[in-house]
Symmetry: C2
Subunit: 96 residues, 2 copies
């Protein structure tokens, strides 16, 4: 079965960029420990620092769903909820 | 100096998805041969196949600029120009 690639784009509110970024950074270590987490990288846009993108590779969809039910992910969602202007998550397959 | 990450999102016109995708696939081999090209992966959205995302890692910005002046990239741009509804390119730095 093909692996799952997640491209998750978040636009932080202008006055909350550093807070959102630091909460995202806290997610990295525990997430990389999760079963089925192959890649989990955070990027910040060079021209607009409010734009942050996670690039993730998961063994399969079930692993990604389990990730979203972990305590560290739930803590993250609760903490940054009011600091985010926009969020879009692309669930993708690597085709080349 | 930090490497450059490119997240390039393209939305193909509904009737041109396969054509755009095949032109993108043609780009991969010659691009991976380019100096400073570290990663170059193409992804297609599982829910909306018109959405295609390149995830790229370049040694530096100059290598990426050189990529955009290659014949294979120019051929790609000329070929798919009329088949694309939307395109956005995020120039980013990996922060975690």
């Amino acid at each position: 079965m093909a692996k799952l690639t997640i491209v998750a784009k978040t636009v932080a509110k202008t006055d909350s960029v550093e807070s959102v970024k630091s909460e995202m950074l806290k997610l990295i270590a525990p997430t990389r420990e999760e079963e089925g987490c192959i890649e989990y990288f955070l990027h910040q846009d060079n021209e607009d620092p409010t734009i942050l993108i996670f690039y993730e590779t998961w063994e399969n969809y079930a692993c990604f769903e389990r990730h979203m039910s972990t305590q560290h992910f739930k803590n993250y969602v609760n903490t940054v909820g009011s600091m985010i202007k926009e969020k879009v998550v692309y669930k993708m397959t690597r085709v080349g």
